[in-house]
Subunit: 345 residues, 2 copies
DNA sequence: CTGAAAGCGCTTACAG
DNA sequence: CTGAAAGCGCTTACAG
């Protein structure tokens, strides 16, 4: 841009002080006298001076940067990443920014290109790893990075033991969803979920659902998803399986919105009316649920809290004062898909 | 993590060479002899040594990092950011990574917190700015940053003159969409768009639509969106306006998928059958369109090309060899929403 | 082919 | 309250 980069020495010369005073003044060191600070700031502004963060970081050893890794399925198109993780990513970047940190973002999938040596390379002070549980290789990789001393906080990891993770309050969310269906008059409620999935979140949501059903003395019915399919196809297939089983049902609690979108589509194509014949509730609060037909009732984590909690947990880990906050609060967002049963055939 | 950070001097001592030789060997400098290189690499691996990028960057002046700024509406929830931009973001990060660059990502909306001095602060070598055209303050801010010498490439800017921008091949996409509706038997095709929006893309899509209609000798009909509403509500309102006008129509080309989702919802609630009574085609290729009811036909840019083109254009600008590639190729993705008219009432 | 040395632009003890 | 000086960990002319 310019021939000679403007440095703190140039500012010092213009302000008539030493370079170290410029550094102190700009860092807000209270030891600098007010008139001096004013002169320095004016000179810096005049020269359009900005601190070279590389030099500052080399000196201090801190980068002021957090790495955010979004794990996707190997070979998956970015367009097919669960929008939930994009919302979470946005919230994390915003929270980091509000804490004065930059965010170095990467989408990682293929085993050969996994890269997490951010701290060794002094590119970041710590990592936040989020994304699909399905890519086991990636999670193993980052677990190892963490075991070698890196600072990491997770959302979505299949591993819990000894790791710093944060998740939605899944049990509570599932209870809200189930209670809502019951309150709206549904009784034969099936749950599309996975019991043996590495996705711990699904298991937690299923557990919360079962607990709430038991309180009401209602029988439970689980339909296992086929994890090898794309999420929406999992929903379509689960509905087919549920219908093929011959057991009657008047509502479905689906442990993930993306799967629920497939459920709605399959029910529609089979001419089954939602919410009249079957009520549906999802989980995650993805935006397109609000514009599904009918609009999908869902349980939504507070994304802003999620971002803040992940960032703060990481910063505390880096500072050596670990926190034990783990659960992001959730709320039920009632929409048309669960309005109550009409006349059953 | 460790008391003493492992430096190239430690590697040098272990390998029995000088520090400068370590640097050359790890940089792949061909001047280093093969046996020496092997010894250095072994020592580096043994010590788990990684180059301190801060130090390297301070020395070379290059950061190997690109800043990616996603502009959103002021106060907008990250969950409400158009998923199109998230797909684009993912593609940009992947392309940058394949070119050996990191990506510093930020979501920016509020005027007070706009920040784009990445190059002055030596945090990045250049910027890619994408996002909603609606936040004029933000685009003004980045235009000024660019005028002050920063390297920037844009997608979505309301400004064209003198800027390095990339956009989808909107005219061609609109022609494909319109031709597809015509081929499927629709004739009275309305277009939900904006003629005076700062969104140049909408205008381009409308122009392409009109051109194709004219070729066929068909009359055109534009319904203006109300930009003050959320995208989906714009679609609902436009459908209401269209119907209220009393003019018959059997298809709608909507210049944006998010708006099209609202269109589908409104048509559904009014009991108008899609595609039997009205065919609908959108633009952008957002994922939830595929799971709308009925699944939405759309024009989709090649996201991977989009990411690569943005990154390469920026890298060329930085290198001082500007390119004039501007248009990302598009393709039509036919789905149920435009299958052809049934019997009109 | 390898080494000794300078220097990128800061922050921060240490003196005064 | 301010300044002179060291040093963070690299890369890269310059010598040999």
């Amino acid at each position: 841009m310019r021939q000679h980069r403007v440095t703190s020495f140039d500012v010092a010369a213009l302000a008539g002080v030493s370079q170290s005073t410029v550094s102190r003044a700009l860092a807000g060191d209270p030891v600098v006298s007010e008139p001096t600070r004013t002169r320095v700031l004016a000179a810096a502004a005049e020269l359009n001076y900005h601190i070279d963060e590389n030099a500052a970081r080399l000196r201090t050893g801190r980068t002021g940067t957090l790495a955010v890794v979004v794990i996707s399925r190997e070979g998956e198109d970015h367009k097919d990443v669960n929008p939930f993780y994009f919302s979470l990513l946005g919230a994390i970047c915003a929270a980091a920014s509000s804490r004065g940190h930059e965010t170095l973002v990467s989408f990682q999938d293929a085993a050969e290109t996994l890269s997490g040596r951010y701290e060794e390379q002094r590119k970041a002070d710590g990592l936040i790893v989020i994304g699909t549980t399905a890519n086991r290789t990636a999670w193993n990789y980052f677990r190892e990075i963490g075991e070698n001393g890196a600072h990491i906080v997770y959302w979505g990891s299949p591993f819990d033991e000894g790791l710093d993770w944060i998740r939605a309050d899944n049990q509570e969310g599932a209870r809200l969803a189930t209670g809502h269906l019951i309150a709206n008059g549904y009784r034969r409620i099936a749950c599309i979920t996975s019991d043996h999935s590495p996705q711990r979140q699904f298991k937690e949501r299923y557990d919360g659902h079962v607990a709430r059903m038991r309180e009401e003395g209602l029988p439970t019915r689980a339909v296992e998803i086929d994890e090898s399919l794309p999420r929406e196809e999992q929903g379509r297939k689960a509905v087919s399986d549920l219908i093929a089983s011959g057991e009657p049902f008047d509502a479905i609690f689906v442990v993930c919105d993306q799967i629920a979108l497939g459920v709605l589509l399959e029910l529609h194509e089979r001419g089954i009316a939602v919410p009249g014949q079957v009520g549906v509730v999802g989980f995650d609060g993805i935006r397109s649920g609000a514009y599904a037909i009918p609009p999908l009732t869902s349980v939504e984590p507070d994304f802003q809290s999620a971002g803040t909690m992940l960032v703060d947990k990481l910063l505390k880990q880096i500072a050596g004062t670990p926190s034990d906050e783990r659960r992001v609060p959730v709320r039920l967002v009632p929409r048309a898909s669960s309005k109550g049963p009409g006349l059953l055939p």
